[in-house]
């Protein structure tokens, strides 16, 4: 059976600045030999500290970066073999939500315009069709259609994150990558957004790749968990198993940090 997403032995390294003229520059391995898969309707959590490679992994899944080794298959198709035009079309099926709800929306555009942008970029829809889809997306995230005519500064942080989610689901994706999507939010708003993601998953059958440094947040939303440190996957398993029976010291530290 084909998984929604298969990451196969992926490695990504960056060249650091050259330190001496006649030596090759040192390399930093951001992700080392990572493999995992994700199915429809499933949430996979990736936890780890900053610099552990979780965002690099997300960027490779989104085809923002190419792996140096290994393959990333989306619905059985290696996304790095697609032509530019085909990749553009394929992007309708996988979308991303970022951490900063302030930085990810153009302050000078009405939010309805920003929400429609992925649609304009990938689809030949008429203005009327686009308007309908924007209303539909706003409705999905619990906002009203007249909110589309407002500007980002008129919304709170939680509402902006709803807008960012509306923008991500407007192309009706099968996979949603959420990179620290609730980290900048207050606890009560965080709970609202986590609930929204779970509802959307049920309604739309989304596969969600949920990246966070907060194990408690990951525990509350994910079916399976993958723990990363220094570019390596330390352990992976069902959320219940990893949480009740952590095999690595690092996972135990994360557990201590989020316990009361």
């Amino acid at each position: 059976m084909t998984h929604l997403l298969s990451v196969e032995a992926v490695t990504r390294q960056y060249r650091l600045p050259r330190q001496a003229l006649f030596q090759s520059p040192p390399v930093q391995v951001a992700v080392r030999d990572a493999s995992f898969h994700l199915d429809r309707g499933e949430t996979l959590g990736i936890v780890g500290e900053s610099g552990s490679g979780k965002s690099t992994l997300a960027r490779m899944v989104m085809a923002f970066e190419r792996p140096d080794q290994g393959r990333i298959l989306f619905q059985g198709q290696d996304i790095n073999t697609l032509s530019g035009a085909d990749l553009r079309l394929a992007r309708q099926r996988f979308q991303m939500v970022f951490q900063d709800p302030f930085g990810s929306l153009d302050p000078r555009r009405r939010v309805g315009w920003s929400i429609a942008e992925p649609l304009r970029a990938t689809d030949r829809a008429t203005a009327a069709q686009i308007a309908t889809r924007v209303d539909e997306a706003l409705d999905h995230v619990g906002l009203r259609s007249r909110d589309g005519a407002k500007y980002p500064h008129e919304f709170s942080g939680g509402q902006r994150q709803r807008i960012a989610i509306a923008r991500a689901i407007i192309t009706r994706p099968a996979l949603l990558v959420a990179d620290e999507a609730v980290s900048a939010l207050d606890v009560s708003v965080q709970a609202q957004i986590l609930n929204l993601l779970m509802d959307l998953q049920q309604e739309l059958g989304l596969g969600i790749l949920f990246i966070s440094h907060d194990l408690a947040v990951v525990a509350s939303i994910c079916d399976r968990i993958l723990v990363m440190q220094s570019g390596t996957i330390l352990e992976t398993g069902l959320a219940s198993e990893v949480l009740s029976n952590p095999r690595h010291d690092y996972t135990r530290t994360l557990l201590t940090a989020s316990g009361m």
Partner: protein
């Protein structure tokens, strides 16, 4: 040692902190929790005498018995080094990138303690050692960008400790740090508070960190102190509906379950200052609201367990 009596911070007619009463004694470890925009940082700044221009402070603030309401800036400056010190969330922004760590840490010692250069340097070295920075000799000569986030926060703690303050205010000290680094910084603050008998005001929205660091908790909502009590009591038997909502909304690791469930939420968000209700600030979002909540301000009453709560439900004997 430090006493706040009906202290309010106002912007025109709107109160960012409303009638706060709080006493801080030597060695106290008090956590201040609440969402952003609830007045936590403003409360801290008012204690430091650093409320931004344009805001007005009413009520009494006493430091060691002295009323600071009309104190000149020179008094504040003396207190700000010796009586109290503050560390902030973003350690990179708080350090001058063009100065060596050693010069930064030695500065308050030269200015306030009037130490010579050599003596100040020796003290700086001892301070870096006290806050657990490995190889302090080397660090003294380095610049902020050469240090990790956790080490920068340690440098700021050393800087804050330079003139032996009786109170350290830590405003979201661990928020920008990774989980394991945050744990070590939290533990360091607790250790320093114990060994120096120094009071700690620990402001954070991270309830796990507050639970670890403090013995008492103050819960703020919309500028009001809505609940106060012993940390374990407030976290395990919260009384105020806001505290209860906040704790319930927090994602938790239930051992062995790992089952996904919808989280209980507090409806809506913290309203902007101008839109806060005149009575109980939490009315409008409160699940147990009574008809008079929005108009009448609840008075703080004692809870059965030694804490204090401001809620009409409690006054009614509920």
């Amino acid at each position: 040692m430090i006493e706040l009596n009906n202290l309010s911070v106002r912007l025109g007619q709107f109160a960012a902190v409303r009638s706060a009463n709080l006493t801080i004694r030597p060695g106290d470890r008090i956590g201040v929790v609440g969402e952003s925009g609830c007045g936590k940082s403003m409360l801290a700044l008012s204690i430091m005498g650093m409320v931004p221009d344009g805001l007005q402070v009413d009520g009494a603030l006493r430091i060691n018995g002295h009323d600071m309401s009309h104190a000149p800036e020179s008094d504040w400056n003396r207190h700000r080094a010796r009586t109290m010190a503050m560390i902030f969330q973003e350690p990179m922004a708080a350090l001058n990138p063009l100065r060596r760590i050693g010069d930064t840490v030695a500065e308050p010692l030269i200015v306030h303690e009037r130490l010579g250069k050599q003596a100040a340097r020796a003290r700086a070295l001892a301070l870096l050692d006290e806050v657990g920075i490995p190889d302090p000799e080397l660090r003294l000569r380095q610049y902020p960008h050469e240090l990790s986030g956790g080490q920068r926060q340690r440098v700021l703690i050393a800087l804050a400790l330079a003139c032996n303050p009786s109170l350290l205010i830590a405003d979201e000290p661990t928020t920008a740090l990774d989980a394991n680094v945050a744990l070590r910084i939290t533990d360091l603050l607790v250790r320093l508070s114990r060994t120096r008998n120094m009071a700690l005001l620990f402001i954070s929205h991270d309830l796990a960190a507050v639970a670890r660091a403090t013995s008492d908790i103050v819960v703020m909502y919309g500028g009001d102190i809505v609940e106060r009590g012993a940390t374990h009591q407030v976290l395990h038997h919260p009384v105020h509906p806001y505290t209860r909502g906040l704790l319930a909304a927090r994602p938790q690791i239930a051992r062995g379950s790992g089952k996904r469930r919808r989280l209980p939420t507090i409806p809506g968000t913290v309203p902007p200052l101008a839109d806060l209700p005149a009575g109980c600030r939490f009315s409008g979002r409160c699940p147990q609201e009574l008809p008079h909540c929005a108009s009448i301000c609840p008075q703080p009453v004692a809870t059965g367990s030694g804490g204090i709560v401001a809620c009409h439900q409690m006054g009614a004997g509920a």
